[in-house]
């Protein structure tokens, strides 16, 4: 059985990749996918610690994190569709109307 360290390192790697994706990509759909990657990395951490302490709290929390991820994806994709209707593009840089 791989120990908690290995899981934490894998989760840190996935989280960093997701963070890099959020910052460097211009396509808003890919940015949303990178956010999902980061949430998944957090889930790996929670499950690893739940197993480490033989407790269920971590696994219950993962269910809530997945719920939040689902809601966030739905609202985020709706915003992307609306931006596409408005500007005919899905670039992050184009969504600067609130700058004033």
């Amino acid at each position: 059985m791989p120990d908690t360290d290995a899981y934490l390192m894998l989760s840190a790697t996935l989280f960093s990749i997701g963070l890099i994706g959020v910052i460097i990509r211009r396509n808003m759909i890919t940015v949303l996918m990178a956010i999902e990657l980061m949430l998944n990395a957090v889930n790996i951490n929670l499950v690893a610690f739940a197993h480490r302490f033989a407790s269920l709290e971590g696994q219950v929390f993962v269910v809530f994190v997945i719920t939040v991820a689902a809601g966030e994806a739905a609202v985020g994709l709706a915003i992307i569709i609306q931006l596409y209707r408005l500007k005919n593009t899905v670039n992050v840089d184009e969504g600067n109307t609130l700058n004033g």
């Binding site: 960093s16 990749i17 996918m33 990657l37 915003i79 992307i80």
Partner: protein, 220 residues
């Protein structure tokens, strides 16, 4: 090297490789498919940590629901008609630097291992020990983990925890989903302008016959 570690190594490498491909593919459809592969790999990792229920939820909700949503939006926004422009934002060097710095930070924390058994702060861990550890049956100086249902009947244990200890957060989550659904509908729906309402085909504006009316016309 035992089988579990081999599975972890192969699946973990696959997850990292496909997640790198997610953020490097130009076409969002390819990104979405590699994201699907990453989710499935993470589900396998959950099974390795004896979290079968969470693995099933991961496959159903992420690989089933969220991926369909993503692919639906990608298909709705016609990718080929988007202007052919740069993939990377102008902050890409800073983004790579921030990602590397965060990874080094996490790696440092993991290496020091504040969660290890040999932690100096035993007072802090006392509550955890009382809750999850119990004295060894023969040797009172040793501590063993309390055997809980988590090993063999994971779904039942998670269900009991959700509906007993975490009932209020569970209901709050359902309200959250309702709010998210209404928000997505309100944000995503298109306001028809007066010109467009003129051009809407007639069958969309026609009143739908109720079941009662259909029956009456049939009997008449």
């Amino acid at each position: 090297m035992n089988a579990a570690f081999l599975v972890f190594f192969v699946v973990g490498t696959l997850a990292v490789a496909s997640s790198i491909l997610v953020i490097s593919m130009r076409n969002p459809v390819h990104s979405a498919l590699f994201l699907l592969l990453t989710f499935l790999c993470v589900a396998v990792l959950f099974v390795l940590k004896q979290a079968e229920f969470v693995a099933a939820v991961q496959v159903l909700v992420y690989a089933g629901g969220i991926m369909v949503l993503f692919l639906f939006v990608v298909m709705l926004i016609n990718v080929r008609h988007l202007p052919d422009e740069k993939v990377l934002s102008r902050f890409w060097r800073g983004g790579l630097a921030v990602g590397a710095a965060v990874f080094i930070l996490f790696a440092t924390v993991v290496r020091t291992g504040v969660y290890h058994d040999a932690s100096a702060d035993t007072k802090k861990l006392a509550t955890v020990k009382e809750k999850y550890l119990e004295p060894h049956p023969t040797d009172p100086n040793k501590l063993v983990r309390k055997t809980r249902e988590v090993e063999n009947r994971n779904s039942e244990a998670v269900g009991m925890a959700l509906y007993q200890d975490y009932l209020v957060p569970f209901e709050v989550a359902s309200i959250f989903l309702l709010v998210a659904m209404i928000g997505a509908i309100v944000i995503g729906k298109r306001e028809l302008s007066a010109v467009e309402e003129e051009q809407v085909p007639d069958y969309m504006l026609e009143r739908v016959e109720t079941e009662k009316e259909v029956k009456e016309s049939m009997s008449a």
